[in-house]
């Protein structure tokens, strides 16, 4: 096994991706080869140090820009779709309410209208009749 193959195995070992059998072979080689052992120790040191790297501070204004996520984003296809659905629905509801209102009003007038007219007519007729027909003794 050449050194490059061993270094590839070291890389996989640090990722916990080296099969057990190959791990055994790797450590047998490391026990014998100083060059690879040095590479292993130093690479491990770098690997461990990388995990202690401190992240840069997160930019605060990025959250503000994304607050739109919490409020709802009109660019979102579902939001846009809902808006497309909700606007005509609202219009239709208003139109339907007007139509129903008008029909109810018209129906009420139609139903209630003739009664006083008929009554008035009867009353008038009666008056006329009374005025035309002289009273008997």
């Amino acid at each position: 096994m050449n050194h490059e193959n061993i270094q590839q195995q070291i890389s996989q070992f640090m990722d916990n991706e080296l099969p057990k059998e190959q791990q055994r072979e790797l450590f047998m080689h490391l026990a014998e080869c100083e060059e690879c052992r040095e590479f292993f120790v130093e690479s491990k040191r770098i690997h461990d140090a990388v995990h202690t790297l401190v992240d840069e501070p997160f930019p605060a204004d990025m959250d503000r820009k994304f607050s739109v996520l919490r409020l709802g984003n009109a660019d979102h296809p579902y939001v846009a779709q809902k808006m497309l659905v909700s606007i005509p629905s609202a219009l239709l509801t208003v139109i339907a309410a007007f139509l129903i209102g008008f029909s109810l009003l018209f129906s009420f007038q139609t139903l209630s209208g003739p009664e006083p007219d008929r009554f008035q007519q009867t009353f008038n007729d009666h008056q006329f009749f009374n005025s035309q027909v002289p009273l008997r003794n």
Partner: protein
């Protein structure tokens, strides 16, 4: 009552169904990692913020393209990677080179800057920044995000074998750069 936080998978389904609160939870869960990746790739806070911002806007608008079997994390990082790539191309910084075994993982002509202070961590940060983007992205996704080989392959549109090679070359390059300080 179950207090277990919702998984990315569950939240992705909820977001696909139009639940923007799920998008907000996913954003808060992944924002630091995505921003950190963009920053380490671009080395410029403003560009990194723009790239991270675009990534999350795409998460909201293109969530339907997250296919079953793909983790949201690898999908997010593939989007972030594309955003980073666009910035690199726009600024003509460094093209993302295709993997080539003959290509060095870093440019030996530009050794670590003498302006580095004595802290090993800073030297390591600087050394990572010296890696070529195609190697740096694989290395960062593995070491700082803990992504599996499969996830990295999915995020970078390459094979597991290529990921292994990139990681190996990144590590040997870092070792070469940092050897004088170890």
């Amino acid at each position: 009552m179950d207090n277990t936080p919702a998984t990315d998978e569950t939240l992705t389904i909820q977001l696909k169904n139009g639940d923007l609160h799920a998008g907000s939870v996913l954003y808060n869960r992944h924002k630091k990692a995505v921003y950190s990746f963009c920053l380490r790739m671009l080395r410029d806070p403003t560009s990194a913020q723009d790239a991270a911002q675009e990534t999350f806007l795409k998460m909201i608008s293109k969530i339907q393209s997250v296919q079953q079997g793909t983790t949201l994390k690898s999908w997010l990082f593939s989007v972030a990677r594309n955003e980073v790539l666009m910035v690199l191309r726009r600024n003509k910084i460094v093209p993302m080179e295709p993997l080539d075994d003959e290509v060095e993982a870093y440019d030996p002509a530009t050794p670590l800057s003498v302006s580095m202070d004595s802290e090993l961590r800073e030297k390591i940060s600087h050394a990572i920044a010296q890696l070529k983007p195609a190697y740096r992205e694989a290395y960062l996704l593995r070491e700082t995000e803990g992504m599996s080989y499969e996830e990295i392959a999915s995020a970078t549109g390459t094979t597991v074998s290529a990921v292994k090679t990139k990681l190996f070359k990144s590590r040997t390059a870092l070792h070469a750069m940092l050897k004088p300080y170890l």
